[in-house]
C-alpha cells in the first residue's frame, strides 16, 4: 500500500510503523484496515469523481461523524488533522502532492487515534486521485493521438484517390464543422453544412486576406473562419476554410486544416495538370480536324477524348466586336479566353467537353450542326463574360474530311460579310455567293469575270479618273435594273446613269436589254465581289 517512507510527507510516524509491520497502530481496528484495503481496490481505475464519492461514503464507516465534505480548493500545507469550525480537516496529500482537505463534520471531539483511519484514507485518496488525473491525462493524450492518427489515415486515403470535394468532406468529418474551398473566382465548394453569409468576403477583402496569408507561415484566423492558402504562397489564391463562429477551434482543427490544405494543393495542381493535358489534346484534335489530318489519326485522338466524330458539326468563327470608339485590332488573349468560355456556355457544353480554340484573334468552334445560332447569339449578347461578338458559321461536316471545307466556307462567309452589320452569318444562307464559293477552280471564275467584265476592268485600270462603271453596273443590278433607283443610290442624275450604262454597252459590246446577257453580267458582278472578298481560292 505504501512503498515510500510515509512519514516523509505525512509527518506521522504511525504510518511508518503501519507500512513496516502491517499492524494497525493503537486505536485502529483491523476492520478499519480491512475496509481501507478494499477501498483501495475499489478506487483503482475509477474516475476522480467516483473516487471522491467512494471516499465520502466510506468516512462515516471509519469515524463517527455527521457529514463529510471534500475541499479541493484549499491546500494549506498542513501534514495532519487540524480542527476547523464544526469538525476536522484532514489534508489530502501524497508525495509532492497536496490536493485539498477532507472535512469531517462532527459534534464530538475526536482525538488523533480516532482520526487516524481517516488520515490513511485521505492519503489513499490523494494517490488514487493523482492516479486518476494521470490516467485521465493519458486518456486525453491517447484520444488526441488517435484523432491525429485518424486524421492522417483519412487524409492520406483521400490524398491517394480523392478529389477536392472529398478532401473538404473529410475535413468536415474530422472537425465536425462547415468547411469551404474557395477558388480564385469566388466560387465556393462547401461540405458539412451551409456556409454562413457572413463568411463570404468582398473581392477586396479576399485580396487582402490572400496577401496576408502569403506573408504568414501558417493558417490564420479571419473573423469566424480559420483559413489556409492552398498551394505555394507565391501564387496560390485558393482558400481552404473552417467555420468557427464560437472561436473554439484549437490546435487539432488547425492541424487538420493545414494538412488538408497541403493535400488539396497537390490535388489542385494535379487537376490543373490533367485539365491542361486534356485541353492540349483537344486543341490538337481541333487543329488536326481543321487542317485535314488522316481520319484514323483523328479518330484515335477523338476516342481518347470521348469525342464522337460521327456527330455532324459546323465550324463557327466567333470574333469579338470592339466597343464603339475603340480602334480595330486583335483582341486581348484574356478577352478571347472569356469569349471562348462564353461560346461554350452558350452551347451548354460542360467544362471539359469544350471543342473550341482561340486562333488568329477569333474563337474557332466545332459546334453541333443543329446548334440554334440565333439563340446562341442572343445568349452571348446577354453574357457579360463573353462580350459583344460576331458569329460566322460554316457548312456542315458529315465526315472527318469535311472539317477543312467547313472552315474555308466559314472564312469565305466572314470575308463576304465583313463590311456588313449582321452579328450572325451562315454560309448556308449566302445565296449566289455560296454557289461561287463552292467553286474550287479559281481560274474558271477569273475567266468568267474577264469574259463579261474584262473590258470594264481594263478601262478602270487605264483611266483612274474615269467614272466607276463597274460600281454603276453593280448598283443598277442591285436596284433591279431601275435607272431612278440607281441614280438615287449613287447620288447621280438619271441622265448620268443612262450615259454610263450606254458607255458600258459600247465598251463591252453586251446588250443589257437582253435578259440572258443581263443575267450573265449580273453573275459576273457577284463573282467579282466574291473574288475580291475572298482573295485567291485555296488549293
Amino acid at each position: 500500500m505504501v512503498n515510500e517512507d510515509p512519514s516523509r510527507f505525512t509527518g506521522d510516524p504511525r504510518l511508518t510503523e503501519l507500512a513496516r509491520t502491517g499492524t494497525p497502530p493503537p486505536g485502529m481496528a483491523c476492520t478499519e484496515l480491512h475496509k481501507l484495503t478494499l477501498l483501495s481496490m475499489l478506487m483503482t481505475d475509477r474516475s476522480e469523481s467516483d473516487i471522491l464519492d467512494l471516499a465520502v461514503a466510506t468516512v462515516p464507516t471509519l469515524v463517527a461523524c455527521t457529514g463529510v465534505d471534500i475541499d479541493l480548493d484549499t491546500a494549506d500545507g498542513t501534514t495532519g488533522p487540524s480542527a476547523v469550525p464544526g469538525g476536522y480537516a484532514i489534508p489530502i496529500r501524497s508525495l509532492n502532492l497536496q490536493l485539498g482537505r477532507l472535512i469531517v463534520h462532527t459534534d464530538a471531539a475526536l482525538d488523533d487515534n480516532a482520526l487516524f483511519p481517516v488520515q490513511v484514507l485521505a492519503q489513499q485518496l490523494a494517490v488514487a486521485v493523482d492516479n486518476a488525473r494521470r490516467h485521465a491525462r493519458e486518456h486525453d493524450q491517447v484520444a488526441a493521438l488517435n484523432r491525429v492518427l485518424r486524421m492522417h489515415e483519412l487524409l492520406t486515403a483521400v490524398a491517394a484517390g480523392g478529389g477536392l470535394a472529398e478532401i473538404t468532406d473529410v475535413v468536415a468529418e474530422l472537425t465536425g464543422r462547415v468547411v469551404a474551398l474557395e477558388y480564385r473566382d469566388g466560387t465556393i465548394q462547401v461540405s458539412g453544412g451551409t456556409w454562413a453569409e457572413g463568411c463570404v468576403r468582398s473581392p477586396q477583402n479576399r485580396a487582402r486576406l490572400v496577401e496576408r496569408l502569403r506573408r504568414e507561415p501558417r493558417s490564420v484566423r479571419d473573423g469566424a473562419v480559420l483559413v489556409a492558402l492552398v498551394g505555394h504562397r507565391s501564387d496560390a489564391t485558393t482558400l481552404l476554410q473552417i467555420a468557427d463562429p464560437k472561436r473554439t477551434a484549437g490546435e487539432y482543427e488547425t492541424l487538420v486544416l493545414e494538412y488538408a490544405a497541403a493535400i488539396a494543393a497537390v490535388e489542385l495542381a494535379r487537376s490543373a495538370s490533367l485539365a491542361e493535358a486534356e485541353h492540349r489534346l483537344r486543341l490538337g484534335l481541333i487543329t488536326e480536324l481543321l487542317l485535314g489530318v488522316p481520319e484514323p489519326l483523328a479518330r484515335a485522338r477523338a476516342a481518347v477524348l470521348e469525342v464522337d466524330l460521327d456527330e455532324p458539326r459546323r465550324v463557327a468563327l466567333i470574333r469579338p466586336v470592339p466597343a464603339p470608339n475603340t480602334s480595330e485590332g486583335s483582341a486581348e488573349p484574356a478577352v478571347l479566353d472569356r469569349l471562348r468560355a462564353g461560346v461554350e456556355r452558350a452551347m451548354g457544353r460542360p467544362a471539359g467537353a469544350e471543342l473550341s480554340i482561340v486562333e488568329a484573334g477569333q474563337v474557332v468552334c466545332l459546334a453541333p450542326a443543329e446548334q440554334d445560332w440565333v439563340e446562341a447569339v442572343k445568349t452571348l449578347r446577354a453574357d457579360t463574360g463573353a462580350g459583344p461578338c460576331r458569329v460566322v458559321v460554316g457548312s456542315t461536316c458529315r465526315t472527318v474530311a469535311d472539317y477543312p471545307t467547313s472552315l474555308r466556307h466559314a472564312r469565305q462567309a466572314a470575308a463576304l460579310s465583313e463590311h456588313g452589320d449582321r452579328d450572325l452569318v451562315c454560309f448556308d444562307t449566302l445565296g449566289i455567293h455560296r454557289l461561287l464559293a463552292l467553286s474550287n477552280d479559281a481560274g474558271d471564275l477569273d475567266d468568267y469575270i474577264r469574259e463579261w467584265l474584262g473590258t470594264l476592268i481594263d478601262y478602270r485600270r487605264r483611266t483612274s479618273t474615269a467614272a466607276d462603271l463597274i460600281g454603276t453596273l453593280r448598283s443598277y443590278f442591285h436596284s433591279g435594273a431601275s435607272i431612278t433607283a440607281t441614280a438615287a443610290a449613287l447620288h447621280l442624275h438619271e441622265s448620268t446613269v443612262k450615259y454610263r450604262l450606254q458607255r458600258i454597252v459600247d465598251l463591252t459590246g453586251h446588250d443589257l436589254s437582253d435578259p440572258p446577257t443581263r443575267f450573265a453580267m449580273q453573275v459576273a458582278i457577284h463573282a467579282l465581289e466574291a473574288r475580291d472578298a475572298l482573295g485567291p481560292t485555296p488549293d
Binding site: T31, E32, K35, T37, M41, R46, S49, A57, T58, T61
Partner: protein
C-alpha cells in the same frame, strides 16, 4: 483481514449471500460462468436472473462444463423489474418461493445468481428499497442450503452506493477475490419480515 480466496466462488458454501462486483462484461461473464458452472459440476441447480439471452448464458456454461449443462434463466423483467419497477416486497417473496419450490423439482440445492445491471436507474428511495431486499436475503440465507450471489456492475452502480452494497452483503467479490465484508453490520440492517 479475511481474504477467502477465489475458491469460494467455485464452491459456493451453503447459506451464503454475497455481492459480486465486476468492472466490465468480460469479468461478469467469467465470474458468472464460474459460479454457475460450479453448481452444474456438483449436480446442483443453476439459476440466473438476468437480461442476458438464455442461450448465450447457457452456452457459456456449456463451454466450461459440457454440452448437457442446463441453466434456468429468468428474465429481469419477470423478476427484479416485474411490473416495470423494482419492489423489495415482491422480489423477497419471489426468491423465497424459488428456494421453497426447489425440492419439489428434485433440486436439493441451488446456486442462484441475480445480475443487477439495471440498478443505475434507481433513485435514492429505489436504492433504499433495494438494500431492504438485500437485508432480507441476509435473514433468508442462513436458513436455506442455497447460495445467493448478487452481481453488481461497477460501471452502472453509482460510486456513492458501492459502500452500501458492501454494508448489505456479508461477503463480497472484488477483482475476482472473495472477502468477508468489513462494512457488513447485521445491526445496521433494516430487513423486511421474512416471507413465510
Amino acid at each position: 483481514m479475511t481474504n477467502l480466496g477465489s475458491a469460494v466462488l467455485d464452491e459456493a458454501p451453503e447459506g451464503t449471500h454475497l455481492a459480486v462486483l465486476f468492472g466490465d462484461p468480460a469479468e461478469r461473464e467469467t465470474l458468472l460462468t464460474r459460479y454457475l458452472a460450479g453448481a452444474v459440476r456438483r449436480g446442483e441447480g443453476a439459476v440466473c436472473v438476468t437480461a442476458e439471452a438464455a442461450h448465450e448464458l447457457t452456452g457459456s456454461v456449456r463451454r466450461v462444463v459440457g454440452p448437457t449443462a442446463e441453466v434456468a434463466v429468468v428474465p429481469t423483467h419477470d423478476s427484479y423489474l416485474r411490473g416495470g419497477q423494482f419492489s423489495a416486497q415482491f422480489m423477497a417473496g419471489w426468491v423465497a418461493d424459488l428456494v421453497r419450490q426447489a425440492p419439489s423439482g428434485g433440486v436439493e440445492r441451488q446456486c442462484i445468481a441475480g445480475v443487477l445491471d439495471w440498478c443505475g436507474d434507481l433513485d435514492a428511495s429505489g436504492f433504499e428499497d433495494l438494500y431492504r431486499y438485500e437485508s432480507t436475503l441476509n435473514l433468508l440465507a442462513p436458513t436455506i442450503r442455497h447460495t445467493l450471489a448478487c452481481f453488481y456492475d461497477l460501471q452502472v452502480l453509482p460510486a456513492a452506493q458501492i459502500i452500501n452494497v458492501l454494508r448489505t452483503h456479508p461477503r463480497v467479490v472484488i477483482s475476482g477475490t472473495v472477502w468477508d465484508s468489513p462494512f457488513y453490520d447485521e445491526e445496521e440492517l433494516r430487513p423486511l419480515p421474512l416471507p413465510q
